[in-house]
């Protein structure tokens, strides 16, 4: 009998925790991880320390390359999936290679979200999501003296704190959409702004980005709806992350905010699962879908998906009170309302 070939798209916490479970549960199977990033599995929350030079690239790595070799997990880095054929169980890669699977797990994580009304300014925005983004920013850091952060999310709060350490002038434009998709209550929102102000950031609340223009001598000018005109070297765009699932459009998978899966993390196609930030999980009690963000949630969902791929019936219940301590403010990282 031909052995299983588990293909996992992604190389973050969900993907790696799933690979571990799959290897333990099926020693003979082929396991392939495919990631469009060139750098191995790393701690994204440490990127800000890398930017400031407090951590090296190696410090960010979660597990050495040898781990994959020793566990016979094939790690394909820098390879982008461009299409999936769910009928023939084939993953198509950008360099025009076909990889066949018997079970597929999609753990794509997210990509920086740019609200539709701001698409037109995308090319002026700086987003820091990957180590490549961080590396590029790190090289430019000595020449950056001022930054306007628009949107605002949990990453940006920590990034801003780091930028302030360098003596950079940081202005934070927080509108009603800030911290999407988290639903911060008024106290939490106030907490964030107070902490940022205490560190030296200028927090501009209740105003909205209205326009961006590049300046002739370099840098940008940000205009707000209330008439502010802010000059800066960089515009940090932190509007949260959305599942990076564009290539799945037309594949047949049901996609809403993320890939729709049942409580066992299986899509409507047999043998195809999703876990982590990109999964939108059905809860029979709520009769609704829920999503989650954060490292721990991803690890947990990856494990559940892997167990189910191996034949278990584990359900991905809502995290009971999964709190993320962000800059001293505790926020819930799983939610199901207003999806």
């Amino acid at each position: 009998m031909q052995s299983e070939h588990y293909v996992i798209i992604g190389n973050g916490p969900a993907a790696n925790s799933a690979a571990d479970i799959l290897r333990k549960g099926d020693p003979d199977a082929r396991i392939t991880l495919i990631s469009d990033e060139f750098f191995p599995y790393y701690h994204r929350h440490l990127l800000r320390h890398y930017i400031l030079g407090k951590k090296s690239k190696e410090d960010l790595i979660v597990r050495p390359i040898s781990y994959y070799r020793e566990n016979r997990i094939r790690l394909r880095l820098g390879q982008k999936v461009v299409r999936i054929d769910l009928q023939t169980r084939t993953v198509f890669l950008a360099h025009m290679e076909k990889v066949h699977y018997t079970r597929l797990l999609i753990c794509l994580g997210g990509k920086p979200r740019i609200p539709e009304i701001h698409y037109v300014y995308s090319e002026y925005f700086t987003a820091i999501k990957t180590i490549d983004d961080a590396e590029a920013f790190r090289e430019q850091l000595p020449g950056i003296r001022s930054m306007v952060i628009v949107g605002g999310d949990l990453i940006s709060v920590k990034m801003a704190a780091s930028f302030l350490e360098t003596g950079m002038n940081v202005r934070f434009l927080i509108d009603e959409d800030a911290f999407w998709p988290l639903k911060l209550d008024d106290d939490q929102r106030r907490d964030f702004t107070e902490r940022l102000s205490a560190r030296g950031a200028e927090v501009i609340s209740g105003d909205v980005l209205a326009g961006v223009e590049p300046e002739t001598e370099g840098g940008f000018r940000v205009r707000t709806r209330n008439g502010l005109s802010l000059s800066c070297d960089r515009i940090g765009a932190f509007f949260g992350l959305i599942p990076d699932v564009d290539f799945l459009v037309g594949s047949g998978l049901d996609i809403d905010r993320g890939i729709l899966v049942n409580e066992y993390l299986q899509t409507q196609f047999e043998g195809v699962y999703a876990a982590g930030d990109c999964a939108q999980v059905y809860n029979p009690d709520l009769k609704n879908y829920w999503v989650s963000i954060g490292w721990d949630n991803a690890l947990h969902l990856g494990q559940i998906a892997a167990h189910n791929i191996l034949g278990s019936d584990k359900t991905a219940d809502l995290p009971p009170l999964n709190l993320l301590n962000s800059d001293g403010v505790k926020v819930q990282t799983a939610w199901w309302r207003d999806l």
Binding site: F38, L75, R76, L93, A94, E97, V99
Partner: protein, 588 residues
Amino acid sequence: MPFRDDIVIKICGSAGDGSISAVDILNRAAALMGYHILNFDSYPAEIRGFGKSVGTTRISRVRPLTPGDRADCLVSLNDPHTITELPTLNESGIVIYENRPGSFLEEDQVIAGFIMPGMTGYGAPLRDLSVTAVQSARSRNIISLGILAGIFRMHPDGFEEAIRIRFSGKKDSVVKSNIKAFHLGRKYALDEIAKRDQIDFGEQLLERPGEISIMSGNEAVAEACIDSRIRLYAGYPITPATRIMEILAKTLPDRDGLTVQTEDEISAIGHVLGAGFAGKRAVTATSGPGLCLMTELINWAVMAEIPAVVIDCQRGGPSTGLPTRTEQSDLNIAVSGGSGDSPRVVLAPTNVEECYTLTRESFEIAESFQAPVIVLLDFFLANRIEDIDSKRLTGEYHGEFPGDLVHSGNEPFKRFKLTESGISPRALPGMAGLLHTVTGLEHDQKGMPDYETKNHRDMTAKRFRKMETLARIWRGSDPFGDDGDLDAGIVSWGSTVGSVMEAIDILRGQGVRAGGLFPRLIWPVQAEQLAAFSRRSRQLFVAEMNYSGQLASLYAINLSRKFGRICGVYAGPVPVQDIVDEILRGLP
């Protein structure tokens, strides 16, 4: 980004993909940029259209001695072939590959799927870019050079000039379209590829003194034959020696010379001996199987004391063996092939420059000592390409018939006169009053057959005495590495010397007192020099590229001590690290 000044680039394709021509252009471009190069190609024994062709070039500010154990960059023009080359790539190596093949390919048919974490893959639409440049896919190799130049920031001028040289003699449109292809590839790399590696030439042009020659060992041999004013090349084509014949066939007719493609190697050496007997410089080049056929007539040259030069470009054996693989396993037959006590001279150059200088000397030795001289190259040395300061390609020309050997005086002419040096006066056919007999039979001093025991003993001793004279007067080989007492002394020969020299440098860097002795005159043995080196060496090793340790066995009687043998057969040149590891294992 720190500058890397010593890198190994491999271009791999199927025969006909142009990987070897691309590497040829890369060599010239790097040399024109002022860098040293060492190139070694590996290609199939079969005719174009089949099998794997791999061109390997090491580019360095310091003259490289080997093509490097592992490559830093692998360019794929044929993924299934290149996949098999991946184990030769550094763990942090770079792979440049086609990312727009005509259709989606199955898993594991494309090299991108094999790129290991830690390596860097750069995909590029080689085929599409080639079609844009020349309306066909045939310039993928030139596109890939442009990609290399763009990624590694190599100065484009050298490439343009190298392309012009490579396609000189072709239509101007061919030159232009290839230059266009190069720039298209370079532009793609600069505009579309995000650099993620540490190799950066900074578009530097280094200063180089004087004129540079870029040539292979075979080309150096041919150049030496021309400069030595040979009158005849006779040979039967055989890999890896054929290139010598190709060059001389084109060149000699314009230089009062002649190239004869004979019906076999026996005939080839027969032609050479005929010319030698007539006082004309002649040479043949062959490989192991051909040398086997020549042994009888080489023996005749020993007995008849006729000058002859035989170039043996060794390949894997025995028999027809491995035509396109390198090995140093013809030493036994070169030194002692044939019947009877049959002393001949065996020389072994260690690099391309010495292919030139020792070939030139081989004619002088053959004529002065009236004996056959076998010059041992091997596939690696014959085909590897180096940049050489053109001024070093020189040698003295003493004439093809040294005047001091001509008989003089009133006594009857004894062509095989017993002398202290073993060297007898010589005459050419037709010289008045110097009539003599030349035969393969044992003979007296006038050349007449004589089977008496005393005569045979005296004549045999005389023939060996010539070798003793040569060993005494021939310049020795300078020791390499540390002076004084050595923790490890390594004797090696031929193309393995480069690997040993690099190994010695590594060992010295690790605090081991190490040195090497690399005889170019393999036989006769320069025993005093060998003994002196042995005395300096606490541990002694003999390193070579054959299974049985042929030089080690040959020198064992002179060494009269325990020593380590570092010998083996490899896919290519001996890996430096293997030598280092063997020596470290052998040290107390």
